[in-house]
């Protein structure tokens, strides 16, 4: 997309002068202008961050190029990790795997823990939002539990499950569930009385009310919670994996540190950032799709 935008710009710039002066066919100038406008808009969004990235890269290169610098410059990072970049799929057994396998292992843990948190979180949030007594009973407990840092749960989880895998999943679950519960509850509490009246007149039963009114009405809030939740779970998995070991991008970073492969750490951080960004966009996009037209008018 970016490539296209950059390519089309000079073309339209060249084509513009004759169109403006002659304007014989009425159809062409419109499409040219539209392309030019689109290209301009895309360029306006893509070029500034590119320039900043380039500048930062140059700065980094200059700072780390000197002899005795503790961190590698980008050129060295590239040279060191070329193999990892171009062959993410190799698998030599044990922990010696391509980055794709590490990231996919981490994503699997997140998928398990996060899905569980989404289901349980929405259910609990609905309960707390709907029932005053459930709120009085549960809300103070949630408020205390949600302040516990994710990694503080890990020793307890390890003691309970006696295995790294379920413990990591539990940490994801316990980290991402709180914003989902709290946002769902707020969404349910904010359902307009009018919708409840409509449901009462039509005589929807509680199950129908949940699916046909509560979920769609609270969906914007629920997706806010889900989006915060996915961000937190990606934060937590990296830290948890550093401690539990095994295949996973978190332990890959820790392993690289132990063997003093700084370039690998930098590459892994880059990937972690990209994946986190994609996850966030994914949930945001899903939310947009599902809540299309839900906003009260």
């Amino acid at each position: 997309m970016n490539m296209q935008a950059i390519k089309t710009e000079p073309a339209t710039a060249l084509a513009k002068p004759p169109v403006a002066s002659v304007a014989l066919s009425p159809k062409q100038p419109v499409s040219f202008e539209r392309y030019a406008k689109m290209a301009k808009e895309t360029a306006a969004r893509v070029i500034p961050p590119l320039i900043v990235v380039l500048l930062l890269g140059v700065m980094w290169e200059l700072l780390c190029r000197r002899t005795g610098s503790t961190l590698p410059p980008p050129s060295k990072v590239y040279r060191d990790t070329k193999e990892l970049i171009f062959d993410p799929f190799f698998d030599n057994g044990g922990l010696d795997k391509g980055l794709f396998w590490h990231i996919s292992a981490s994503l699997q843990r997140v998928a398990f823990g996060y899905s569980l948190a989404a289901v349980v979180g929405i259910a609990l949030g609905t309960l707390v939002g709907q029932s005053v007594w459930a709120m009085r009973g549960l809300d103070p407990i949630f408020q205390v539990l949600r302040t516990i840092p994710p990694l503080a749960w890990l020793p307890l989880a390890l003691a309970a499950f006696r295995d790294g895998q379920p413990s990591a999943i539990f940490v994801i679950f316990i980290t991402s569930i709180w914003p989902i519960i709290i946002n769902t509850a707020v969404g349910i509490r904010n359902i307009p009385q009018d919708y409840r009246n409509v449901a009462a007149v039509v005589q929807l039963n509680p199950v129908e009310f949940f699916w046909k009114v509560m979920l769609p009405a609270a969906a914007p809030y629920i997706f806010t919670g889900l989006r915060i939740g996915i961000g937190l779970s990606w934060l937590a998995i990296i830290a948890a994996e550093m401690l539990i070991g095994g295949v996973g991008i978190g332990f890959f970073i820790w392993d690289a540190w132990n063997s003093s492969h700084m370039s690998e750490i930098i590459l892994a951080l880059f990937y972690v950032g990209i994946v986190g960004f994609v996850l966030d966009r994914l949930i945001a996009g899903l939310g947009k799709l599902v809540t299309h037209g839900t906003s009260v008018s």
């Binding site: 409509v198 007149v201 039509v202 009114v213």
Partner: protein, 264 residues
């Protein structure tokens, strides 16, 4: 003759903590089948509370509502409501909004195809078939209210309750919709209770006008019969002496005998 809908000595007291306020006191009202009754009064006189009690959304503190000889105290499709702010579900299309009620009310008595047909029939009654796949946010205020009316009508209610149905509309749209409601009443013969604060609207549409005294402890001050033949024509009525007399009597009630006391 026993009345079709009867409000029997209805009192409503709202209690919050130790403070209780009596909103309605000793409301007695009888409606025959096919009657069009308007309830008019200054704001805060409890007319919406009264409608909610008939709808079953609020329970009377004392007394009750009897519909066709049976007491009703919970909401149901036999007393469908058209809400002031239309209350369409924004994530459903126009068609789905009407279909929601149809599916519940006729779940056992109509097949899928019949329910679809019935939904379209009711959208057609309010001339909204052209927008059936639009969402509420994509249609105008008047259209939303038409869909609200279709949704209520589609439940085949014994009593249709209109809660200031035209209050949020501009004057031209309002007149247009009033004519539509009159035509529907003429065609279907529904029993209708309408809340309004518009004197012209009340006289134009109703068989009887129930005038409420000011709250707290509001009650029915007077009931005025509107002996105008149907169908009624807005333009002809403008100079009709019976119409003008009815209008004058409602105005006298509202602005002389029961003048609104500011922030009482």
């Amino acid at each position: 003759m026993t009345p079709y809908l009867k409000l029997d000595h209805v009192d409503k007291v709202f209690t919050r903590g130790k403070v209780s306020s009596e909103v309605l006191k000793d409301i007695n009202l009888n409606l025959g089948k096919g009657d069009y009754v308007s309830i008019i009064g200054h704001s805060g006189c409890g007319k919406s509370t009264m409608l909610n009690i008939i709808a079953g959304l609020t329970r009377a503190t004392i007394g009750g509502v009897i519909l066709e000889g049976r007491e009703v105290n919970s909401p149901g499709p036999d007393r469908a409501v058209v809400f002031q702010n239309h209350s369409l579900l924004p994530w459903l299309t126009v068609y789905q909004n009407v279909r929601l009620g149809v599916d519940k009310v006729f779940a056992k008595t109509k097949s899928r195809a019949e329910r679809d047909e019935w939904t379209m029939h009711n959208l057609n009654l309010v001339q909204m078939t052209h927008a059936k796949d639009k969402r509420p946010s994509e249609i105008s205020g008047g259209m939303k209210q038409r869909v609200g009316i279709a949704r209520a009508l589609a439940m085949e209610p014994k009593v249709l309750l209109l809660d200031e149905p035209f209050g949020a509309l501009d004057a031209l749209t309002r007149a247009h919709l009033q004519d539509s409601v009159m035509a529907l009443h003429q065609k279907l013969g529904n029993t209708i209770v309408m809340i309004t604060h518009d004197v012209d609207e009340a006289v134009l549409l109703s068989d009887r006008i129930v005038m409420m005294t000011n709250g707290p402890s509001a009650t029915i001050g007077e009931v005025l019969d509107v002996p105008l033949a149907r169908p009624r024509q807005r333009l002809e009525l403008a100079s009709n002496p019976v119409y003008l007399d009815c209008r004058k009597r409602v105005l006298e009630f509202l602005y002389e005998r029961h003048k609104f006391v500011e922030a009482a």
